[in-house]
């Protein structure tokens, strides 16, 4: 117990390091000063500038659409991959299947981005599709990355669940798809929701892969923010971070509340 204060001190210092820049950034989003990080009195002007920046708003919408689509596709595909790894019996090429499923998790962004772009270019020269790179190619790239994370979550959850649960449902007369949908799927739901959120977060935060696989038609929010930061910080980026952090914080609070409620009703978390 002697070391408890030491460990607690380490935790507090670490959290301070993580949070200090974020808190300063949030505070200075409300500052009425041209030069960033110089206090010029309270103001909401950067939020107004944010709302009036058409290029930024357009990119934000594109990012949201791509992230929703990519996360949904990632849950469907990653769910199937996780199911195959946990429940499908032995089949030829299983080791390769497992290795490929884990590959996107360990590739550096520049390698993922470059390889997918070159693949799309080759595909276009062979089949004529995709004629234009943009939202669709970013969505496919992000879904591939997200699916790898979903697969890990789903596989872990399925290996905790007893396969006998589904067998019991079948013994009681449920057809295999019905047994899966009424027994396994509800038990899997928390992992699928977590996987969707993770895939969504990865997608809205990605600048490298999106820059590679996109064309002139598709500029996502991180691509715009990156070019703004390269030119020098604009306080609009701070205001944007405050909007994103508040949205994420409220979502987290809602998720925790939902978890509390479902636990108090006696269901397994």
């Amino acid at each position: 117990m002697k070391r408890l204060p030491m460990a607690a001190l380490g935790l507090v210092l670490g959290l301070l390091f993580l949070w200090l820049p974020v808190l300063l950034l949030a505070a200075y989003a409300f500052s009425d000063a041209r030069i960033p990080f110089q206090w010029g009195g309270f103001s909401l002007r950067w939020f107004a500038a944010l709302a009036g920046n058409a290029r930024l708003i357009e990119a934000a919408w594109l990012s949201l659409r791509v992230a929703c689509g990519a996360a949904t596709l990632a849950v469907l595909l990653g769910g199937a991959v996780g199911w195959v790894l946990a429940r499908h019996g032995p089949f030829r090429g299983r080791a390769l299947f497992g290795a490929l499923a884990g590959t996107p998790l360990v590739l550096p962004d520049v390698v993922t981005g470059l390889s997918l772009l070159l693949f799309f270019v080759m595909l276009e020269s062979l089949t004529g599709w995709p004629a234009e790179r943009g939202a669709t190619t970013i969505l496919l790239a992000h879904a591939t990355i997200g699916a790898a994370y979903v697969a890990v979550l789903v596989q872990a959850r399925l290996s905790e669940l007893a396969p006998e649960l589904e067998d019991a449902a079948r013994d009681l007369g449920a057809a295999p798809p019905v047994a899966f949908a009424t027994v396994t799927l509800p038990l899997l739901a928390p992992s699928l929701v977590a996987g969707w959120l993770l895939a969504f977060t990865l997608s809205v935060d990605d600048v490298v892969v999106a820059s590679f696989v996109s064309g002139p038609a598709g500029t996502t929010l991180p691509m715009v923010v990156f070019s703004m930061l390269r030119l020098g910080l604009t306080p609009e980026v701070n205001a944007l971070a405050v909007v994103v952090l508040s949205a994420a914080g409220s979502l987290l609070a809602l998720a925790m509340l939902a978890l509390r409620l479902s636990q108090s009703r006696g269901r397994p978390p």
Binding site: G14, V22, V81, A101, P108, S115, T144, V208, L233, A241
Partner: protein, 279 residues
Amino acid sequence: MRRLPLILPALWLGLLVAMPLLVVLVLSLSFPAEGIPPFSLPNCAEGVNTESFTLLLEDPFYRDAFLGALAVAGGTGLLCLMLAFPMALGLARAAPSWRPLLLALVLLPFWTGFLPRLGAWIGLLRDEGWINGLLQSLGLIEAPLPLLYSWPALFLGMVHAYLPFAVLPLYASLSRIDPVLEEAAADLGATGPVAFLTVTLPLALPGAAAAFLLVFIPAAGEYVIPELLGPPSAQLVGRVLWGEFFQNRDWPVAAALAVVLLILLILPIRLFQRLEARR
């Protein structure tokens, strides 16, 4: 029909994971060319072009890009471990009712977005930024210190971005250690630091290895942080690859850089997958 749940994901993995890697390999052996796209594939008449690889091996610029990236990734991994260990220990020893909140506090800065957090560091470190302003108003310095676009700024950004990746696996392995073990060690005469070094630390090693690799692997190819915070001399492999592709439009050399980076990372990646499989 019954094989559909297997065939669809297998098709996806083959098409969007395996094929792109094969294409990179083929492209790294292609000939640079004028036009769109700027390469011509290996063919019967000309064979393959290994000049991109020869260039990477012979030009010290590329060698330094790889060595620099590995050194920065290794340094970032070690710094993250040093910071994450006490944090994970604090988390593991906090009262159970506090843990979800503390974990959320570790993860939530993530959700401001990766780029805005780098923007915050730019605001702190730039010439007319916070730290220089504070030092000047205290009269400690006359002219602003060149903090931004430096190696320390690069490492600050890297550690800040990757720290949560290191905290989670360490926390997972530390929270599974039975506190009774340390009490037993204490009963046998090993107190405080001795019990920690001989009991807790060895048990946390697999978690520490996972934490290190989870930081090291993505950090080795990092592009954005060296670009936004690092000095111009920090020509690490991620930045060099980006430049070859977007500025020089030399796709074969960019592909060759990706292939060599993957070869260098295969050993740590295999190690990581081995560790994951054992959990």
